[in-house]
Amino acid sequence: MKNFRIVISGEGGQGIQTIAKIISNACFRTGLFCSFLPSFGVEQRGTPSVAFLTISDQKLLQPTFDIADIVMVLSERALKPVVKYINPNTTIIFDSSTIAKESLPKNTFKYNAAPMAEYASQKFTPKAINIIATAVLTRKINLNDQNVWAEVQNTLGAKFKDKEIFRINKEAFEFGLYLILETEKFTKPTFQTKHKILYFKGHGKSAEIVPERCKGCGICILKCPVAALKFSQDLGFYSLSVPHVDLEKCIACGNCKNYCPDGAIAVEKDKIISDFLKQEQK
């Protein structure tokens, strides 16, 4: 008997809807009754993205429900909209690299976790988090993994034309299938937005980079005329990489400040030095 009410949630851009689409299509093709209802806020990439899946071997009436059997949550921010679907019998599957167990509701018995975002970033590609998550869910609800992989290819077909992308995603899927989920001891969520401001000082300049505001768009790196900016290990708002600045190369042209859509970076010449230079010029 397969009867599941599943809620999946994460950041917009993490591919939550894709996970739900793949799983629901796979279920449909194997003759199960299922429905998939996306729920999303107004912001294209700015709000948590939530998907509701109902799977049953009997005819379904409704895509919405009160309590979920499984809640899969892939980012800390995405926890708030789904707390109301959790009761003591719900299994919560969460990304332990970005979410602390302490932030989860305490009224449930079953926690499963894996540091999926960290694995994706380090072993495959950040975007592969949804492939790993799809595989984990496949195992959890006992779907035939070959059927699901066929759906992955169906859905992401266009992207898979690139052999390298295909290989990485296939490996990520396999990886997810054989992941042993943490149930008691959980990884510490260190793969999180750095909450401190990064200060750089030297060579007569001062810089500030604010990971909490940085969305890893890379425009500052592109627009730096002297290649003084590079992505670093620090993580920003969507757990994407944040740049660091090499003040020796930097000429304080102001480009990064003027181009950054998020107000997350600026470099200024130190006042003392510039005053001194003005004196020298007189």
Partner: protein, 347 residues
């Protein structure tokens, strides 16, 4: 201002009423039978430089310009009809969501579509329940030119006090007829204030929300609660010869005037008929109607639309024991004799 007795049209009375209510700015687009309200206002503005106006390129712009002005704290309004009322649903919905004191004078004409420019009572649904919300709009239905004056003034106070879009719903006959009207000073109008302040902390106004829960909890719930609390304070009705009535006519607007005469005709022949006239179509004075509805045997709902008033009445007194008869002539007026005839035909 001393009271005076003037021989004026409904449109002129509307302008005088708006001025009495403290109106400062009007935006509008010419549309029969409301055009004279815009022109009348513009005439007044020539002598009084405090008054502002703009003939906009369409009704939608007129409505949103009204909103812009009231955000700045000015008592702004518009006047429209028929196809213009349809376009007005866009700004009225914004006002309904954001609790803005939007005032519109609507002179009904035949519909749907261009229909006629003359008369109807077919914009009841549109003004009371139109837009994409749940109908939190105040609708006054004046039945005489004097009431047009009165409710055009009152509309501004109601709007600025309770912050729901407020409509004065007349019709082409009221707008175009000339008759004697007593113009007197009314109660001091409720003061307006800038909704976006001139100083202090900036104010952010939004009408768009990200989730259903957020929308309901942060916006709709308060609006509905405020509406529920305000209903009994806003709703008005009138009763005519109902003290011993066995039968009741329910009619609004100018049709109610003919219905009053019909009541007199019946009474003269010994038939005990009374009239319940809702002045506010929304919120409806259901308290009073419920009381009277249970004392009569038969109720006649008389209107110049296909049962729009009847829908409201039947909703409000669904469990009345009286037999309810619908007498409707969409987009066509009634004479008092005709009302009597149609009632007798239903016997």
């Amino acid at each position: 201002m001393k009271s005076s007795y003037k021989f004026i049209t409904g449109a002129e009375a509307a302008v005088l009423g708006a001025l009495e209510g403290g109106a400062e700015i009007m935006y509008g687009y010419p549309i029969t039978p409301s055009t004279e309200i815009l022109q009348g206002w513009i005439e007044k503005a020539q002598c009084n430089k405090q008054l502002k106006y703009l003939q906009t390129e369409d009704e939608t712009t007129a409505g949103f310009a009204v909103i812009g002005s009231l955000l700045a704290g000015a008592k702004a309004f518009t006047a429209t009809a028929g196809p213009g009322t349809i376009l007005m649903q866009d700004p009225m919905s914004m006002a309904e969501n954001m609790r803005l004191p939007f005032v519109a004078i609507v002179m009904q004409r035949g519909g749907p579509s261009t229909g006629t420019v003359n008369f109807s009572q077919q914009e009841v649904f549109l003004t009371a329940f139109g837009g994409n919300g749940d109908g939190l709009r105040v609708v006054y239905s004046p039945s005489t030119v004097e009431e047009v004056y009165l409710y055009c003034a009152k509309a501004f106070s109601t709007a600025w006090k309770y912050r729901f879009p407020t409509v004065v719903l007349g019709d082409g006959h009221l707008s175009k007829m000339t008759t004697g009207v007593k113009i007197s000073k009314l109660i001091k109008p409720f003061a307006s204030n800038p909704i976006l302040p001139d100083s202090g902390e900036p104010v952010y106004l939004r009408n768009c929300f990200s989730s259903e829960d957020e929308f309901y909890n942060d916006r709709l719930k308060k609006n509905i609660t405020d509406w529920d609390n305000a209903k009994s304070k806003i709703s008005i009705s009138e009763q005519y010869e109902t003290y011993d009535a066995k039968e009741l006519i329910i009619a609004h607007g100018s049709v109610a005037q003919n219905a009053k005469e019909a009541v007199d005709i019946f009474r003269a022949s010994g038939r005990k008929v009374g009239l319940f006239r809702p002045v506010t179509l929304n919120p409806f004075d259901s308290e009073r109607l419920k009381k009277i509805a249970n004392t009569v045997k038969k109720i006649y709902i008389v209107e110049s639309s296909l049962n729009q008033l009847s829908h409201i009445v039947k909703y409000e007194i669904y469990d009345a024991k009286a037999q309810m008869v619908e007498i409707s002539k969409p987009a066509v007026g009634f004479s008092s004799n005709e009302i009597c005839k149609l009632i007798m035909e239903s016997d």
